[in-house]
Amino acid sequence: MLSTNAKADRAKRTRLLSTLSQYGVLAALILLIVFGALRYTGFMSEYNFSTFLRYNAMFGLISLGMCFVIMTGGIDLSVGSVVAMSSVVAALLSPYGAFTALLGAVLAGALVGLLNGWIIARLGIQPFITTLATLLGARGLALLLARNQGGVGVDTSNTVFTWFGQGDLLRLPVPGVMMIVAFVLGAVALRATPFGRHALAIGGGEDASKLMGLNVGRIKLGVYVLSGALAGLAGLILASQLGAGQPTEGLGWELSAIASVVVGGTLLTGGTGSVWSTLVGAMLLGLIFNILNFENGKGIISLSPYWQSVIRGGFLLLVVVLQSRLARQKGRS
């Protein structure tokens, strides 16, 4: 069939564009790094590198969860609060052993995710509203657990626990390692497990997926639990790194995560998604802060925090527009 061949060609172009859009972000990231390396002393130092990873690993993790949620056409606004809540849980459990704390934090996050998934899949309330509510609820729980203290001290004698956030593994910061591992697993899950494929399928066509015999409800439940659990892990890192549970932390992190996913070229409409470009997106947005700090260090211009948010907004617009351009060409072909 003539038309079939033509369509096949178009399909090839589509794939080309999608890879391009991934490498587009990567290129931006690399450019930014090179820029920093040339412009700032101490930027390329191992110390700054590990600093960067320690902080941004948390954003990487919640972005990964968000990526899966968005693939199904949903959204999870609760991650920021969940990070805070599970950091408190982790702190409270730290006296009972590092792994109890780890388990507790992840579990706490997963539970909120379970609640999200249940409300969305069973009560059929839209993800945006559902997770908007749990955003408030989780924050409340965090403060209740912390008895309104700004920080809940951890058991500092528990060195393993502090190692989660402050330690190194093969000269790499542990949070960074956790993030990399999570993303490798995430990539595998998305590429090679039914869960990942079915999540994509649901985003691409919920009714069709149902008719083809997928258990849509369970898969949705799954992605929200995943998102919650990863936020829980980020919470553990937070508590360990700061030596205190942080009930007031994580304000607006959900938006950063969404931005990372979108910058990574994943459409909020679902059906598509790339784990790696989400990672790149998260790192890219994180690097902006780092760069801005160094720029202030140059002492040429001292950017007020106000200017910084203006710049971040503009930068987000820029990247997203480039992404949507590529996406739209994809759509046309």
Partner: protein, 528 residues
């Protein structure tokens, strides 16, 4: 009634599937009313009926896609009540649903194996999966890269992929709801090969189709549905085409061509040219399509699914911009930048996809009906309620739209009545040219005839109509001219007596000019 509407005669073998007294109602309509269906092991069972008769609903009730309101289902001896398509699939029923229900963004291979991917240690074995998918498709005579997203292939290919999926689930019963609607004859032959293969393996098949020849070619027994009821069941050979059609329509066929509601008038010889479209090219979907419509004419636009009819309609209406080609309306060359341009010029367009492109489900019948008319219905941007009410009342009355009241959300209406509202949306505009894409698709018998009659009458009053249809009767009996598209290209222009099922089928399938066209293998008997 010529044939008895009695209980079905005992089938050849023991019943594999037995559905009795099935009831199903949707918001607006009763889709199934005491319907029954019995399929023996290892038989190919035809399920036919006009659009809206309830075939697909029957199937969806069986596979648990819909909850049934009443009735019993027995499968392989046990009473069953599948909670979901998944359960049905596990229970041994594989289904190709009517609207190709696959995920366009995922690859061909994934679509074939979605839900049952080959795994090792929980990981999907891509090479194995792709190889197997390729093999399945090759068996169906299709060579393509199974790693491509499904959406990038034609509807025909998509339908074959759905078939591959169904046969690869080794089920005891395979259901095919109108699998041939977009296949050309070669592909249909392949399909028959598959069906015979299944039968040989003792697998039963339910085969839904509107093409009678196909039924006689492969089916052993047949069940006929009408208006949600089972009106006939028996051996395929035990009933003639004529009787079949009468069963479907529920009335005797006195003279040829009484199957549609059209009152055909000989097209006024020198109809003033209204619309002229020449050599339209757009992407790969339109490769030089042309069509002419004169005032008071009903011109048919025929072609297989994916042949570019809707595409062409959208271009004419300004919804898409052509890469090349010229457009004349009322004499002057025109180029509509947007639908609102076309509407201002006096065009109307009923899209083929009522759900996706026609109705605004949340809005009321009133609001849907006046959507296009609104600018004329308002002073200074404020809607004139009195005038609105009058117009709505008039059309609800004159088109016989069945609705509890004009405030009822349109989503609660039956397909046919939704379609009427959409027609009214454009008639209220009092247009010069009306483009109808599959105006009677998925509409039940009664409504269908009414709409067809309406179209005829409108034409007589001078309205030009360009009608896209996949139903040959409609084209044959409704149109003064029929333009046939094939792969986005105009391949034939038939007029008067040239417009016959045989000629249409061949123009559509091979795109041959009527002259050098061989006689069809099986001349249609319907109108004997």
């Amino acid at each position: 009634m010529t044939a008895p509407t009695s209980a079905p005669p005992a089938p050849s073998g023991p019943l594999l599937l037995d559905m009795q007294h099935i009831q199903k109602a949707f918001a607006g309509v009763t889709a199934l009313d005491n319907a029954s269906l019995g399929v023996a092991a290892g038989e190919v069972h035809a399920l036919i009926g006009q659009n809206g008769a309830g075939k697909s609903t029957m199937i969806k009730v069986l596979t648990g896609a819909y909850r049934r309101d009443g009735g019993s289902i027995t499968f392989a001896g046990q009473p069953v009540d599948f909670a979901s398509p998944l359960a049905a699939q596990r229970g041994g029923i594989a289904t190709i649903y009517q609207e190709v229900n696959l995920v366009p963004l995922r690859t061909v291979a994934e679509n074939i194996f979605l839900g049952r991917e080959p795994r090792k240690w929980g990981l999907i074995q891509w090479p194995a999966m792709n190889a197997e998918a390729a093999r399945l498709l090759t068996e169906l005579g299709i060579q393509l890269d199974v790693k491509e997203p499904l959406g990038s292939f034609s509807t025909a290919i998509q339908q074959m992929v759905a078939l591959a999926r169904a046969v690869s689930i080794n089920a005891r019963l395979v259901i095919m709801d109108e699998p041939t609607s977009s296949l050309n004859e070669r592909e249909v032959e392949t399909l028959f090969g598959v069906i015979r293969g299944l039968k040989a393996r003792g697998v039963s098949v339910i085969f839904v189709s509107h093409r009678l020849d196909e039924l006689y070619a492969v089916c052993d027994r047949i069940t006929v549905m009408r208006d949600g009821r089972t009106v006939y069941a028996g051996d395929m050979q035990g009933i003639s085409r004529l009787q079949l059609v009468e069963q479907m329509l529920g009335r005797e066929i006195k003279n040829a061509g009484a199957q549609t509601g059209f009152v055909k008038h000989k097209g006024s010889a020198g109809a003033k040219p209204l619309l002229g479209v020449g050599g339209v090219v757009r992407g790969t979907r339109l490769q030089g399509a042309s069509v002419e419509v004169g005032e008071g004419e009903v011109v048919g636009l025929a072609g297989l699914l994916g042949s570019g009819r809707s595409e062409l309609a959208r271009v004419i209406f300004g919804a898409d911009q052509p890469d090349a080609g010229e457009l004349r309306f009322g004499g002057q060359p025109v180029q509509f930048r947007s639908p609102s341009d076309a509407i201002k010029a006096g065009l109307g367009f009923c899209s083929e996809d009522r759900k996706a492109e026609g109705i605004v489900p949340e809005l009321s019948v009133r609001e849907n009906l006046t959507l296009a008319l609104l600018p004329r219905l308002s002073r200074a941007g404020v809607v004139d309620n009195r005038q609105q009410a009058e117009i709505v009342e008039r059309f609800v009355a004159s088109l016989g739209i069945k609705t509890s009241n004009p405030d009822q959300p349109i989503r609660e209406l039956s397909g046919g009545n939704q379609q009427k509202v959409l027609l009214a949306r454009w008639l209220a505009m009092n247009p010069k040219l009306l483009i109808l894409d599959e105006p009677t698709r998925g509409i039940d018998v009664g409504a269908k005839a009414e709409i067809q009659r309406l179209i005829g009458e409108l034409a007589q009053e001078g309205l030009g109509v360009l009608m896209i249809s996949s139903e040959l009767e409609e084209l044959i009996e409704g149109c003064q001219h029929v333009t046939v598209l094939h792969d986005g290209k105009t391949v034939a222009n038939l007029a008067g007596d040239e417009i016959s099922e045989a000629q249409l089928l061949h123009a559509m399938a091979q795109g041959l000019e009527p002259e050098d066209m061989p006689r069809p293998p099986t001349p249609p008997q319907v109108r004997a």
